[in-house]
């Protein structure tokens, strides 16, 4: 299991567009990817649940990657967050 924390820089937070891009990105990997904020966590493939968390700019989320390709998926996702969120 790989885990990292990230503080959202994107001014609009995880809105429809960035959430859509994130789901697209997560589909590339076999690992199960979960995004947690506070005590809520969702599977990163679930677009509407992800949007429903209402993650805003400045919120810190914990991203957990678990599965056979976690070693490649985790750094790739971290780079994705830095670029898009």
């Amino acid at each position: 299991m790989k885990q990292f924390e990230y503080t959202i820089q994107e001014a609009v937070g995880i809105h429809a567009r960035p959430a859509g891009l994130l789901v697209k990105e997560c589909k590339k990997y076999k690992s199960t990817i979960t995004i947690a904020k506070g005590d809520r966590s969702v599977n990163a493939l679930k677009l509407m649940a992800l949007m429903g968390m209402g993650v805003k700019c400045g919120d810190t989320v914990t991203v957990t990657v678990e599965g056979e390709d976690e070693d490649t998926a985790a750094p790739a996702l971290e780079a994705f967050f830095k670029e898009h969120l």
């Binding site: 820089q9 001014a11 859509g20 677009l47 509407m48 209402g54 400045g58």
Partner: protein, 559 residues
Amino acid sequence: MITIQGKGVSAGVGVGPLYFYHRAKTTIKRYHVEDVDAEWHRFKGAQTAAIEQLGELADKARAEAGDEAAMLFETHQMMAEDLDYEEAIEQQIKEEKNNAEAAVTDVAAQFAEMFASMEDSYMQARAADVKDVSNRILGILAGVAAGGIASEVPVILAADDLAPSETVQLDKSKILGFITAGGSGSSHTAILARTMGIPAIVGVGNALKPEYEGRPVIIDGGTGNVVIDPDDMTRDRLLKKREEELRLQRLLESLKGQPNITKDGKSIRIYCNIGSPEDVHAVQVNDGGGIGLFRSEFLYLNGEDYPTEEQQFEAYKQVLSDMEGKEVIIRTCDIGADKQIGYFNLPKEENPAMGMRALRISLTRPDFFKTQLRALYRASAYGKLGIMFPMVTSVWEVREAKKICENVKNELKAEGIPYSENVQIGIMIETPAAAIMSDRLAKEVDFFSCGTNDLTQYTLACDRQNNDLGRFYDPHHPAVLRLLKLVADNAHKNGIWVGICGELGADLTLTETFLAIGIDELSVSPRAVLPLRNAVRMTDTRESSPRILEALGSEYHHT
């Protein structure tokens, strides 16, 4: 003639017959199913078809309105295949034995409710997206084709509200304008209308009556005016306006990418004033050459407490990196006077415009000032930064501020935090004292930027906030213009540049004057960039400058 007032959300004038959008209506039948697997497959078939349609719409939107518009439909696609959404429908069909239509309707309502109950108004608006996606699936289940325009001639289209998919599906060659009963400036109809340059008015409520259908109508998307059965005069006036708008729009569009250069080859930099990182987009769209004034107050005004170094750093860094190496001048905190903030706990003053404000606060509270400067220097590693101090009256203030900058740089160096050594330091010239002392001040800094609103207020002893002063508050007053000339001359004698970042910069009646007195940079609101560029390009300073300089000089002799 009937006049209706709505909210103009996409500028332009449209003329044509009024046409109501006819939506294909589907009534939802509810029943229980025996063969739940067959019903599930019926849903899956409709879902797959909807996803396919949305893919085609994304392609169409990409061709018509660009990637942003296409992303909307890609998001809809993802909603249609969302795992939770699908699971909830599956449970409705397989366990509750509900038919697919009832299942989709109920699940759509649940998800729409979830979005509608969120705090953020943007997220609330996403409820419409869930409904739009679900209606598509329902339409396919019922075998109903989408609504459209059955008219042969182009029309002004009226609707309660249009879903994004409905807007994109419409044949644009048939649409001269949009009017919707509901909606807002950030609704999809408004966004798409603006992208496609079609005039649009929202929020007319129930003012449009069915009997108006087919009657001639003119809409003005700039003012939000809808006129049904216009008389000849109104018609001519608005048509003329439309022609004028189109002409100007084409002209301004053609100026993008062009230099700000006069007929005789004098150039001036045109930068933008912004108030938050989101404004950078407008700077780029309007082809601003840089940012001449980034007001840092939004950081202080939005919160309940002082913004942290980290929050400030992120905001500055974002603007610097978004501007991709173009110059960005950030003004340090300009609180006080007309901008009061509770948590600053500033004592109440009789005359705040002449009180504890701007740099005076920063120098009185050095820790607070240092936090902002640390954030600024850290951000300087990400682009071309200039730091500007507001409300200077004395040389010692500038020296003291610069000393704090040096301390901050030394701290960062010691901590191994990167920053740029090429940060320009400048001051606002907005008090008569600073203008009069500009020969000395110029030796301390890299640039001047004249804040004409305050400079006018302090020079003419006219309160900016007092509307009754009218003709006495005259930014064209020769006293103000002479001070600007004095400042420009002193700047150039000392080899530094001088700009104007007040509202006066965008005043096209003064563009020739600013060129004549040698202003190097004008910083204006993003929308003013192209009109100003046009004015610069129309000027021949060989003709205008001697005339203006003589007028400014002759005043000296007469008074």
